[in-house]
């Protein structure tokens, strides 16, 4: 003869089953939905390209040149390993503006191991590029 089960135990199991369902459903939704392609910003690399050129355009002389010098020129200059793709002058940067935009926006540059751009630097250079890269 089996001993009688404690009534509290039965009550806990009865209450726990829906709870398990709810938790598992929630986790399933979270796990499944977060694996969708990340155009909604769920990827590590943000979709933060300015939709249009703002009224105040970042200055090449005052803003962009310093960012490029700090973040790019150690490789992309005459003495760097990417000396055939220099970015250390305005004309060089302008001639490669499309590649610079896609590489920075896609978080492929600066490369892993190099000091990353700050959010403010990233926004400044992306905005300047979207604004047709003026020599201002």
């Amino acid at each position: 003869m089996r001993p009688p089960r404690p009534t509290t135990s039965r009550r806990v199991r009865a209450a726990g089953s829906p709870l398990t369902w709810a938790l598992a459903l929630a986790s399933g939704l979270v796990l499944g939905c977060s694996s969708e392609p990340g155009v909604d910003g769920s990827t590590q690399c943000p979709n933060d390209l300015p939709a249009s050129c703002p009224a105040t355009v970042p200055s090449y002389q005052n803003d962009v040149m310093q960012i490029v010098q700090r973040g790019c020129a150690s490789c992309h200059s005459a003495t760097g390993v990417e000396f055939n793709r220099p970015l250390d002058t305005y004309s060089a940067l302008y001639s490669q503006r499309q590649g610079v935009l896609t590489q920075i926006y896609g978080c492929r540059m600066p490369p892993a191991g190099a000091p990353p751009l700050t959010s403010a630097e990233r926004q400044q250079i992306l905005t300047w590029l979207v604004c047709q890269s003026p020599n201002n």
């Binding site: 806990v12 399933g28 392609p37």
Partner: protein, 219 residues
């Protein structure tokens, strides 16, 4: 009272651990199935499908009818730039941009004539997740190019790159690279540039580094 309830919970977990696991697993599976059918915000799009833009054949690696091939040397991936030792500076393709001309059709050679690249896509539509499959073959050896870590660069214009969509690349079988998801957020004539061995320098002629770009129509 509190202790009695704790004991009861322990008892419940101990008495039916397998049922609990089964219930949790089943619930998780059900959740995932519900998610797969329910959490997509938009239905699969329909309508015209784009793809490679048909046009002139790529002949930039032909010199007076003879093939021009640039052999690749793995040791030139990270050179020491001792040009006296035989390395040649790579000043880019001879014509067009420093990446070479963008190509029509679904196959062509990289700008420096190192690789032959063919690609296919899943249906190309604005707003859809598109997967590219690129097959890369060495022009020098006619063998699959493995370990190229092919990376996509996708743009509509010089100020309009494709949205960041978490695109990833897997290689299977050797020399075949599956890249996606790629998202096109506007209709038009896009450029899809494949980069190969991007961690290798592009400054030496026989470095494995390479790139080729194709036009892709998005209706």
């Amino acid at each position: 009272m509190r202790m009695a309830r704790w004991l009861a919970i322990s008892d419940a977990v101990a008495v039916r651990p397998r049922q609990g696991l089964v219930a949790a697993g089943g619930s998780l599976l059900a959740g995932l199935i519900l998610c797969a059918t329910g959490c997509q915000s938009t239905p699969d799009p329909v309508g015209p499908v784009g793809g490679a833009v048909v046009g002139a054949l790529d002949v930039h690696c032909q010199d007076s009818g003879a093939p021009r091939v640039q052999p690749v040397n793995a040791s030139s991936c990270h050179p020491t730039f001792d040009m006296a030792g035989g390395g040649q500076a790579d000043m880019g393709a001879s014509t067009g941009s420093e990446y070479g001309e963008t190509l029509y059709n679904d196959e062509g050679n990289d700008d420096e004539c190192k690789y032959r690249v063919k690609f296919t896509t899943t249906p190309v539509r604005k707003g859809s997740a598109v997967t590219f499959t690129a097959t890369v073959t060495s022009l020098a050896t006619n063998q699959p190019v493995t370990g190229a870590m092919t990376a996509p660069e996708v743009f509509l214009s010089e100020t309009h790159p494709a949205p960041n969509s978490g695109a990833d690349t897997t290689e299977s079988p050797p020399g075949t690279y599956v890249i996606g998801p790629v998202m096109f957020d506007a209709a038009g004539k896009w450029t899809m540039r494949f980069h190969f061995f991007e961690d290798c320098t592009d400054a030496v002629e026989d470095s494995p580094h390479g790139h080729v770009a194709f036009y892709v129509n998005v209706p």
